[in-house]
Each structure stands twice: as structure tokens, then as C-alpha cells.
């Protein structure tokens, strides 16, 4: 990865959707120090067309993506789209059929109704009544606590710590959407959304785009002093009907992480990874993920969180950018995780830089709690 670019995320009424895409593309090209002519191929992704009302919007963004006259692919795997487009770009370079690939993800959620779209992920006959993100993820939180017999107050406290850490991170991150500092008490006393999830446990709906530039080893060495190297990738998907599988011992997350660790040669994730960007639209879900991604033993995430293992300055700081909890343009969110990971290992993260980070982990989740995707980057080839 030789360049990353993000828009300022939030409510972007000041820009049209194509202009917003362009803002991220321009930033990534400037960061990489290349011109549009240098790009061999483009990968784009966003959520489905119901989101902003334009179907196959890569057609609409042809110019903003600098894709005119160029080959393009469009990957979409729901919430994990941002990671899937990165994987598409990586395979495109690795195949030898392109040297420089521009990968772009975007969402302009204030022009649509995200939850209306989410309601249509469940099929119309049996499960649509439980659609929408808060319901699904709150059930996961309950399942998790029940499965491991975790004291509700302890889980509540741990989730609140995650919220506080993320909001502090978002406060420092110049691109983040939500810039509010909260205390543990604020989180625990906030209004309920769907039990046990409260307002500060939930991500916002954001407008934003992210772009990254991928290059072959030869080109990257020539164009960039400090590229972030791709060390491992994983993606797994599980059954469609939620009741068919456990979301507390979340197999797609476990297997996706294992695959990526295998490629990256990582055996002890918590020790070997310096910083992680875990897709966390809901604080409770991060607890499940910290375990399933192999950062701590199953059923013990609340203890580790309370001890500060995943807080700033801890053994494995998670989401120093503020995470999805502070910034959630869905089609871009998974790619922002990877861009942030790359910024960390190349020392470009600015105010939320984790000192000396060499190996960084990024992740996204999507579908009806079905898909998990992981990409690991490092400062050394």
C-alpha cells in the first residue's frame, strides 16, 4: 500500500456524492505521489443501491474514480465490503495483471435510510421482522453473555470502556465523524436503543469515502519510501439464518483471522500485533470479536478490557482512530480500518499514532452477522 486517503467524515451536505468520492481519491493519489494516469485498474464498493437510491453507482462515479478508459471491478459483501474491495485489489496486483490499483469505498448515508436497507437483508418470508442492525447485534450481545455466563454488569462496564476509548480516539482523529468525549457513566446512563445497547454503544450514520493505492512490490519500492506491506488476508462467511450458528463463538471471525495469521506467520496475535482496527459498530460486538479474532481467550474479553489491555497504552491498543463507533460510512468503513492500519505502520496516523507500530490488524464484518474479513499489514516486507 503506497497511499491512503479519506474524506472528512460526517454529514457532508456541502458535497454531491461523486464530489465526495473524488475528495478521497484525490487525497490518496496525493499521498501516493502519483497521477491518475499511473493507475492501471480501479476497484469500487459501496452498500446496495437502496442505500442512496442510485444502483450500480460505480457508473455514476466513473470520472470521480478516475476510471474512464480503465478496467474496474465492483465487490460488495455488505458491511465487510471495505475489506472485500481491498482483497480484490490485492489479488488483482498479485495476479500480475495490474501494477497499480486504486481501491475506493464510499457511502453517503444522509442521502438515504440505512436501517431501511438493513431491513431488507433478511429475506421477506421468515426473518425480515428481526431486521435492522440494532436488533441483530443486541441479540448477539445477549447470546454472548448467556453463552459464557458473563455477569451483565461486568459486560456493561467493559462495553462502556470501549465506548470511552473510541470516543477519545475519534476526538483526536481529524477525519472522524463523532467528536464527543464521554465518561463511563455517560455511556451506562444513556438512553436505551435495544437492550442492552445504549446510545453511546452504537455507531452513527456517516457520509464518507476512503481510497487506498496498492502497488506491486517493484512499483511500491520505486514509488514509496515506506509502503505498508500486505502480510495476510482472510475472509469467511457462514449460514444465512442466524439461528443456524453461534454468534458468541463466531466461526466466520475465528476462521478468517486464522487464515490471515497463517499467511502472516502470526502465532500469538496479542503479542505480535501492535495495533488493531476492529470493525465495531456496536461496543458489545467488539467484546465478541476480541475473543474470536484471537486477542484473548473466549469468555474473558470483559476482564481484559477492564484491565486496559486494549486501551491506549495497553498491550494491544484497539481502534485508536475511534473505530466504526465514531465513523460509519458503511461501504468505506472496512477500508478505513485498513487505511488506518497502514497509516499506523508507516507512522502517518498523526495525533492517534501508536508509537513504533510495526504490525497492524484490520477487520470488517457484514451480512446477517455472516461475514468476517481480516487484512494484516506490516512495515516490513
Amino acid at each position: 500500500m503506497i497511499g491512503t486517503g479519506q474524506t472528512k467524515h460526517g454529514r457532508r451536505d456541502d458535497l454531491s456524492y461523486p464530489e465526495m468520492v473524488r475528495e478521497a481519491v484525490k487525497a490518496a493519489l496525493e499521498d501516493a505521489g502519483i497521477t491518475p494516469d499511473d493507475i492501471d485498474a480501479v476497484v469500487f464498493g459501496s452498500m446496495p443501491s437502496m442505500m442512496e437510491g442510485v444502483a450500480l453507482n460505480h457508473l455514476y462515479f466513473a470520472e470521480a474514480l478516475r476510471a474512464v478508459g480503465k478496467p474496474i471491478l465492483r465487490s460488495e459483501t455488505c458491511g465487510s465490503t471495505g475489506q472485500s474491495i481491498a482483497h480484490t485489489g490485492i489479488y488483482w496486483v498479485a495476479s500480475g495483471m495490474a501494477d497499480i490499483v486504486l481501491v475506493v469505498g464510499s457511502e453517503k448515508q444522509h442521502e438515504g435510510d440505512a436501517q431501511a436497507t438493513m431491513m431488507t437483508i433478511p429475506e421477506p418470508f421468515l426473518v425480515r421482522i428481526v431486521g435492522g442492525a440494532p436488533a441483530v447485534f443486541s441479540m448477539q450481545a445477549r447470546e454472548y453473555m448467556g453463552h459464557f455466563k458473563i455477569d451483565e454488569q461486568k459486560a456493561r462496564e467493559a462495553a462502556a470502556i470501549i465506548s470511552v476509548d473510541c470516543h477519545n480516539g475519534g476526538f483526536l482523529n481529524p477525519y472522524a465523524h463523532i467528536k464527543v468525549q464521554v465518561t463511563k457513566e455517560d455511556v451506562m446512563r444513556a438512553r436505551i436503543i435495544t437492550y442492552p445497547v445504549r446510545l453511546w454503544d452504537v455507531c452513527p450514520s456517516s457520509d464518507g469515502a476512503c481510497a487506498v493505492v496498492l502497488a506491486s512490490e517493484r512499483k511500491a519500492k520505486r514509488l514509496c519510501k515506506r509502503p505498508a506491506w500486505i502480510k495476510g488476508m482472510g475472509f469467511r462467511g457462514e449460514e444465512y439464518f442466524s439461528g443456524d450458528s453461534s454468534k458468541a463463538v463466531w466461526r466466520s471471525a475465528i476462521e478468517a483471522a486464522k487464515e490471515a495469521y497463517g499467511q502472516a506467520g502470526i502465532t500469538e496475535p496479542r503479542r505480535e500485533i501492535d495495533v488493531a482496527e476492529v470493525y465495531n459498530p456496536f461496543t458489545y460486538q467488539e467484546l465478541v470479536l476480541l475473543e474470536c479474532l484471537g486477542f484473548c481467550p473466549h469468555g474473558e474479553a470483559p476482564d481484559y478490557v477492564i484491565k486496559g489491555v486494549f486501551s491506549p497504552g495497553g498491550e494491544l491498543p484497539c481502534n485508536p482512530s475511534g473505530g466504526v463507533l465514531c465513523t460509519n460510512p458503511i461501504g468505506a468503513a472496512g477500508l478505513i480500518r485498513l487505511a488506518e492500519a497502514a497509516m499506523q505502520v508507516t507512522g502517518k496516523a498523526g495525533p492517534h499514532q501508536v508509537e513504533g507500530a510495526k504490525v497492524a490488524f484490520s477487520h470488517a464484518m457484514g451480512g446477517a452477522e455472516q461475514f468476517n474479513a481480516v487484512t494484516i499489514v506490516g512495515s516490513e516486507l
Partner: protein, 379 residues
């Protein structure tokens, strides 16, 4: 670069089925795996191609499709918009050296979907194009009018594409629309959007298509005669119709990239059969020109010469093409599957009489051909 082979393909018929989308998908994928003698978990990676909510009423289509397509707990991805991209992405994954086999599955249940143009209306941006009524058919009608005016291509020549393709489809067991028709029938069919007549527009079909790809070594083990991936090209054009010359599309760019990768110098001689995506009859003629099968403006004469007929030197759409079978997103992968069957000599009753060593598959989406992709396959 690593070679990639097509081991086997399977397709489902385009007529309305009583099977659910899940059953329908499972059946086609199972058929493919049974033909090869593989289990679903023996395939290394899966790439799905499915349309989004506006087609199927479900957002994040692959969430629903994954079980039936066989991708459970497998490295998986999905391409939206065009299934020929899923084919290419599958090839890229194998070429990267990460995987030895990839199963590409494209699916749609047209009979449960709204009209094609209800969806394509939403390709239009909501501020400038949509209020004007721009959608795939109205954009194509403007392109057809310009095509006839500039090059003197006649309505009869365009109608002849329908006669040829629906006639070819009579021999394709999977085709949706098949009929022996006359030029007069086409010209007298309902005017949809001047000058496009009803029979010149593709239908709305069901369709699941599956293609198994493998690395050279693996493909040779799994198939006696794999078909090889030889070339690929894709190019996007600008978005607004007014910014483009509608008769000078980026298909030329896509084709020239594919030809140079496949080392083809004279496509009119070196391509032995072509499966082209022609949702509107005249587009087959225009695309033939831009693919270099004839000179600019010569698409009508090429058809008149009989060259693109089933028994001609360069048969185009022996399967009946998209006019006979239009499962919206899978239609690109169908073109690849049909091209592969022609090389294998397994196209059955619509196998072309000439020997096929090199075949071309083409796919397009967006207004008046905004985005084209070309695949070259070889024996």
C-alpha cells in the same frame, strides 16, 4: 503469468421455474460439482455474482446466496453489476498463486424481479438524468437512432439480428425465448421506444450459471480438455451520455487489451466464435464493429454476408445471445460458459460446424454501453 483453465460449466434454463432461488442455485452448483466429481469443500475459493436489492428485493444478496452456492466457510467474495467480473476475479485469485481452484456462481430469479428498466432507471443520477427518463432502453434507442443515421444501417438489418438469434436459440435447451421469426414480425412488433421494437429488446429471464476454474496443473487433472483463459480487457466510459460519442464506445479499448494479452492480431480471422452481450438487437452489429470483426459502420453488411450465422466463418451468438436469454447479472458468465462449451465441442445442437480454437465472450452494462468487458478463451 500462471495459466487458468475452465474445468467445467453448468447453466440453468431461463424460463420461469417453481424452484426457490436457493433451490435453483443449489441444483445448478451441485450439477457442476457432480460432473467434475468434487465436493463443495474441495473447492478453494468462491466468487458469487448476484444482483442487489432492486432486482431481488434483498440487500447484500450474497448473504442469502452463500449457503446454496456452496461458499460456507470458504474464502469468498462477490462481484456486483457484471458476472464476467466474477469470472475475471476468480482467474486473478488463481493467478495470484493463493488458490488452485475457484467456483464462480452467478444467479438471478428474473420471474420474481421487477421489469429490467424499473431497475435501470435507478442507474440514472437523481438530479439530471433520471427526471429526463433516461434508462437502459431509452439510452439504447438514442444510440440506435444515431447508428442508423450516421452509418446508414437499416431497421431491417437490426431486425435480422433477432431472426438469427431467436433462430439459434431453438437449438439451445437453456434459452428462454426461442422462435422462428421473420424480419416483418420484428418490425411489426410493438414500438417500445422509437426506433426500438419489442422483439429487439432482451427479455427478463431466470438464470444460474456456474463455472469451475483451476490452475494449469489442477485443471489438467480434473478435465481431459480444459479451456484456457487467454485474455481480458475492460474499460469504463464517462457517465453522462452527452459527454460521449455513443458510436465510439470503450469496447474498442477493452477489446484491444484482451487481444494483446491473447496475442490476437486480426480478430476477424483469429476469433472463431463470439458470444456477445446484445440486450438490444442493433448492439450486436455495433459491438461487432468495435470488436474489430468488420470496418466501422459495416455491422449490417457483416450480418448480411452471413458471416455471423451459425455456419458462417465467425458465428456470433450461436446460443441465441442475450436477446434469447437475459438473466440480468449472470448474463456475462453465461457468455463465458457458452464460449467455453463451443471450444470443448460440447455445445450440443448449437455447436458451430467450424472448428473452434479461440472464442470470445463479451459483457456490457450501463447506459449505451458505458462499461464493456471482453474475455478470450482458447483451446
Amino acid at each position: 503469468m500462471r495459466k487458468v483453465g475452465i474445468v467445467e460449466v453448468s447453466q440453468s434454463p431461463g424460463v420461469e421455474t417453481s424452484l426457490s432461488l436457493m433451490e435453483f442455485t443449489f441444483k445448478t452448483v451441485k450439477e457442476l460439482l457432480d460432473k467434475v466429481g468434487m465436493r463443495r469443500d474441495e473447492v478453494d475459493t468462491y466468487i458469487l455474482a448476484a444482483s442487489d436489492i432492486l432486482h431481488s428485493g434483498m440487500a447484500c444478496a450474497n448473504a442469502f446466496d452463500i449457503d446454496a452456492a456452496g461458499g460456507f466457510m470458504k474464502p469468498l467474495s462477490r462481484q456486483e453489476a457484471d458476472s464476467i467480473w466474477a469470472f475475471y476475479y476468480g482467474c486473478a485469485r488463481i493467478m495470484s498463486g493463493h488458490y488452485e481452484s475457484a467456483l464462480v456462481v452467478a444467479l438471478i430469479k428474473g420471474s420474481e424481479n421487477p421489469e429490467n428498466d424499473t431497475v435501470t432507471t435507478c442507474f440514472a443520477d437523481p438530479f439530471y438524468s433520471r427526471p429526463l427518463g433516461i434508462q437502459e432502453t431509452t439510452a439504447a434507442a438514442m444510440q440506435m437512432r444515431e447508428y442508423m443515421e450516421r452509418f446508414g444501417v437499416t431497421e431491417e438489418q437490426c431486425a435480422k439480428v433477432v431472426v438469427k438469434n431467436l433462430g439459434n436459440a431453438l437449438f439451445n435447451p437453456y434459452a428462454h425465448k426461442k422462435k422462428r421469426v421473420r424480419v416483418e414480425d420484428v418490425l411489426q412488433s410493438e414500438m417500445i421506444c422509437d426506433p426500438l421494437k419489442a422483439m429487439e429488446c432482451a427479455p427478463k429471464s431466470e438464470g444460474v450459471c456456474a463455472v469451475l476454474l483451476a490452475s494449469e496443473e489442477k485443471a489438467k487433472k480434473l478435465a481431459s480438455k480444459p479451456v484456457w483463459f487467454k485474455g481480458y480487457g475492460c474499460a469504463m466510459d464517462t457517465y453522462y451520455l452527452g459527454d460521449r460519442d455513443l458510436l465510439d464506445t470503450k469496447l474498442k479499448v477493452a477489446a484491444s487489451k484482451a487481444y494483446s494479452m491473447a496475442r490476437i492480431h486480426d480478430p476477424s480471422k483469429e476469433v472463431h466464435v463470439a458470444e456477445i452481450c446484445e440486450p438490444y438487437a442493433f448492439q450486436e452489429l455495433l459491438w461487432c464493429e468495435q470488436l474489430g470483426f468488420c470496418e466501422e459502420g459495416g455491422g449490417g453488411r457483416l450480418l448480411d454476408s452471413g458471416a455471423t450465422q451459425m455456419d458462417g466463418p465467425l458465428p456470433v451468438n450461436p446460443s441465441g445471445g442475450v436477446l434469447a436469454m437475459n438473466p440480468y447479472v449472470p448474463r456475462g458468465l453465461y457468455r463465458v460458459a457458452e464460449a467455453a462449451l463451443q471450444i470443448k465441442g460440447k455445445a450440443g445442437e448449437h455447436q458451430v460446424p467450424r472448428k473452434v480454437k479461440t472464442a470470445l465472450a463479451h459483457s456490457v452494462h450501463g447506459f449505451a454501453g458505458q462499461c464493456h468487458s471482453v474475455v478470450i478463451l482458447g483451446a
